[in-house]
């Protein structure tokens, strides 16, 4: 009974993430890969890799923007990488934040990039929190089984 309630809670949580734009249909592709049974824990593992990657990349971008002379080509490459990995896990808000970043580094606008990074980090932290709630519920479900 507890497991059923937790599963309902998990499904509602994931549905709310889709409704609020945290996730897009690419996340469903990951769920399909996991659901055939041959890759248990796949979604949590790949999202964990994304979270580690995003933390590293946003830190590197902050470091670059802190330099006396900003290497905007490196900023571009890092944002492109984060956009790619967020797209691959279905982290839509993070992906969209990366797309919004584009105009600022194209214009070589340091202040704009600093602001865009702050927005990107906010979206990433919110997404990370939602993912962590998802995995906590999954762990509780597994504990009940």
């Amino acid at each position: 009974m507890a497991a059923v309630a937790l599963k309902n809670q998990l499904n509602a949580h994931i549905a709310s993430m889709f409704a609020a734009g945290f996730l897009d249909k690419q996340f469903q592709e990951l769920q399909i890969l996991q659901d055939d049974g041959s890759s248990p824990g796949f979604v949590s593992e790949v999202v964990g890799l994304f979270i580690d990657d995003a933390e590293k990349i946003t830190g590197l971008i902050a470091g670059l923007l802190d330099q006396p002379v900003v290497d905007f080509d490196k900023v571009d490459a890092l944002v492109h990488q984060l956009k790619g990995s967020s797209a691959s896990v279905g982290a839509q808000r993070v992906k969209l934040s990366c797309e919004q970043f584009h105009s600022y580094y194209e214009a070589k606008n340091r202040d704009g990039c600093v602001m865009a990074l702050a927005l990107l980090r906010n979206e990433f932290y919110d997404s990370r929190s939602k993912f962590q709630t998802m995995f906590q519920l999954e762990q509780q479900i597994e504990a009940c089984s």
Binding site: L33, F42, V46, L49, D53, A77, Q81, G84, S88
Partner: protein, 134 residues
């Protein structure tokens, strides 16, 4: 197509990808088709594998990577005489297809990759491999 329809000796796949998320997702997809998987983190590592005499049936190659980008690595691999290996260029921009194809790739797949696109490609490689062994 389901993974259970894939038969024969395993396809040897090389993933050339510097982003752990992408490498992990593609590895998981290819494992479902019982591929033997090797991962190189940049184009130079991929070229080095061929120079060491390693052989692969298929390469999935990203574009933007440190040390050596994908299209440059593909050119070098083809220049080594590796004309039979199926090379799949993988990248997030549709306008990047030409750079892969000009370098010698056979197919371009956009990111994020869809699971159901990979299966037919692997099956084609497997059929070709098993027919050449007869």
């Amino acid at each position: 197509m389901t993974t259970s329809t894939v038969q024969g000796s395993p396809v040897k796949a090389l993933i050339v990808e510097d982003t752990p998320v992408h490498a992990f997702i593609l590895s998981t997809i290819l494992r479902k088709f019982h591929c033997e998987i090797t991962v190189a983190e940049n184009g130079n590592e991929a070229v080095q594998l061929f120079l060491e005499g390693k052989k692969f049936d298929i390469i999935f190659c990203d574009k933007e990577m440190p040390v050596m980008p994908g299209p440059e690595a593909i050119e070098k691999i083809r220049a080594l005489g590796e004309s039979h290996v199926k090379i799949v260029g993988v990248s997030a921009g549709y306008d990047l297809e030409q750079s892969f194809m000009s370098a010698g790739a056979d197919i371009f797949l956009p990111k994020p990759m869809k699971f159901d696109v990979v299966g037919p490609i692997i099956q084609e490689v497997m059929n070709k491999k098993n027919n050449s062994m007869v």
